[in-house]
Symmetry: C2
Subunit: 104 residues, 2 copies
């Protein structure tokens, strides 16, 4: 029943409502991630200035343990929290290496 102007087919109202909540949550996530990258950019600049290595396995192990515990308390799979952190750290290290090579 979708018109030519509406490429998405009609969706159940209940699904539309969930999607509005997901969109709100995603907006919040994007803004928090923007803030997180502001912090990690500063960390990258500091590490380059002090000649510290981009990766820090001890710090990452602490973060994994902390986020797994938080995930459990929030009813989120701890494995997902760990995968998510690894995803972020990988991205951040890529940025740090860029900052470092930009100074070389």
């Amino acid at each position: 029943m979708a018109s030519r102007d509406a490429p998405t087919p009609d969706i159940p109202p209940e699904l539309a409502e969930y999607r509005r909540s997901i969109d709100n949550i995603d907006s919040a996530l994007i803004h928090l991630l923007a803030e997180r990258f502001k912090c990690t950019r500063k960390v990258g600049e500091l590490k380059a200035r002090l000649d510290l290595p981009p990766a820090d396995p001890a710090r990452e192990a602490q973060q994994v343990a902390r986020l797994r515990a938080l995930a459990i308390s929030a009813d989120l799979a701890p494995e997902f929290a760990e995968t998510f952190l690894n995803f972020l750290v990988k991205e951040v290290i890529r940025h740090h290496e860029g900052i470092r090579s930009g100074r070389a």
Copy 2:
């Protein structure tokens, strides 16, 4: 100068401060992700009940466009916002398929 009780070596105070902010942001991210998965779990159950496919390319294209625009306004790389959404969607579809197969 780290003692036996502190396996992490001494870190510059400026780095410790950034890390405290990153930890706060990560706590917020984990709680938002827990809430997002509550929504997508309900979506998965609804889709299984109504026999709708787990993936919805039109919806995902709308989400990508929306999050890229939000990222730009928040000074975050739009490519990262897209990679992040793909990461979440992949995880969600895996869950949806699990819900569906649990009903088969």
